[in-house]
Amino acid sequence: MGFIASVKAVAYREAVWFRRFLADYAIAWIMPLLFALGMIFLPASVSGLSNVVSRLSAFVGKHLTLEQAIVFSVCLSSVVTVVAVVVGDMSQTIISEVKILGALDTILMSTSVTTYFAAVAVVRPLILTLASTLYLLPPLAMVEGLHGLVIYVQCLAALLISGIALGLYTTALSLPIAFFTGVSRPWILANLLVPAILAGTGIYIPITMVPTVLRLLALTSPSIEMCRTLQIVAVYSSLSRAVDALGAIAALLAIYVAIACGVGKACDVGARR
């Protein structure tokens, strides 16, 4: 079974599975909205709404109204969702498929570790990113009207590219942990990696405020560039202004492909032996 056939098989499985995770998706839509609104109204409970909006304006370097601040906050919350869903779900699935579910026999019989996990790393982030960021559409359309749709499409383009990069990043990290270490609980990597990357990205605060250790960890993933892209899209609604950040994500993507393929090959050889 080649790469394309594996992609088809994984896509079929994801489509069949989809209904089972509807409750999780509903939560993945509501939580970031609460998070985004909390980011504006919670500090406002201490120091007033206008103060918070002016601080956000100072952060993005352009005067924002309350509506624009909300759009900005909602767009950025998708970084949290995508990192949490893609990195969290994929690393848990990879480790439990290898360690607990025993999917390895089927994989080795029909294809190779590299092909299967490469197919998963492309198909799953696409579906997960698209489905988990659908919540962006209603608030953007409500606040900005038709222009909100333009922002949504640009956000989605940036998120899909970063989603695939995150998927490959997770694969490159999780495969050696699943095959060559004694980590037996699938949630251990996911529970630590996701919040550590997000805390290191510093989403709503200048990256210079983030402690160095967390920042270095976040720099290994595409999350910082992803965050920068979304900030530019949310404020200026122009993806072309973010072309250098997108280029950085693409460069990281290439590096992750190389690492993931190398690691996959080593795991395949190790498992067959």
């Binding site: 500090p43 103060n51 918070v52 529970n191 630590l192």
Partner: protein, 261 residues
């Protein structure tokens, strides 16, 4: 009296041994919770423009909210995930129920984990906003301990209420993610934001948040009324928790419970 004390001691012993089996998961989950709280609260604290004051207002709220949320997760574990491993059945075969499971987890999950997570989070936030870690320490340690002791009451009440909800419905345990957000009103969102601060006491965890705010010198409700009132509220909460947990047990006895995710 004596038998109930030994029973409590046995429950705590069971809880300690159960948590020893999952030591790695506990460490990971504590760190994970602390990191998530950093993701949420560092920007919030920074965006207020008065980070030190915001630190003293929000962080006690975080403690209170996480205590309630832990209660909810423990109840979810008992009525959803642990059904598969047979832990729920094992407890019920020994004549124990929802409240006993919650009590058995009190030392490790409620007190030790929430205090540890709180201090890791507080040190983390302090690392972002200030150069010294001394802002983490409460001005009045006795009131801090008082708040930690009071936290058992909302833990039990939130846990019992969640257990009752889950044994009565077939919804996925993932919804606990959302229910715990309701606890933010009155705890993380300070009672001042409600107009009438007393309204915030509807949330069972508010008392804990307010007493801990007193320990940091930033209360919304006057301490002279709050501090004597707190044990009365806690007593009512525990009585309610016992009643709700009994109803949940009766529900399981009537209809049984099956594994759902």
């Amino acid at each position: 009296m004596r038998s109930s004390v030994t029973r409590l001691a046995r429950l705590l012993y069971i809880g300690l041994n159960l948590s020893r089996m999952h030591l790695v998961s506990y460490v990971v989950n504590g760190l994970s919770a602390a990191l998530w709280l950093l993701v949420v609260f560092v920007p919030t604290v920074v965006l207020t423009g008065h980070p030190l004051h915001a630190f003293r207002v929000f962080l006690p709220g975080v403690f209170a909210m996480s205590v309630g949320a832990i209660g909810m997760w423990i109840a979810t574990e008992f009525t959803r995930w642990s059904v598969y491993q047979g832990l729920t059945d094992m407890f019920r075969e020994c004549g124990l129920g929802v409240l006993h499971y919650l009590v058995s987890c009190v030392i490790v999950d409620c007190v030790a984990m929430s205090v540890a997570t709180y201090f890791i989070t507080a040190c983390g936030v302090a690392a972002y906003i200030s150069s010294s870690l001394s802002i983490v320490l409460p001005q009045n340690p006795l009131l801090f301990l008082y708040a930690v002791a009071l936290s058992v009451a909302p833990y039990l009440l939130c846990g019992a209420a969640t257990a009752l909800l889950y044994v009565r419905t077939r919804i996925s345990g993932a919804w606990t993610n959302l229910f715990q957000m309701a606890l933010a009103l009155g705890t993380v969102v300070p009672p001042k934001a409600f107009g009438i601060p007393w309204l915030a006491l509807v949330n069972p965890a508010t008392v804990v948040a307010e007493v801990m705010r007193c320990a940091y010198g930033a209360p919304s409700i006057p301490p002279s009324i709050l501090l004597p009132l707190a044990p009365i509220i806690a007593g009512i909460e525990i009585a309610l928790a016992i009643a709700l947990a009994e109803r949940a047990d009766r529900e399981i006895a009537l209809r049984g419970i099956e594994f759902r995710f």
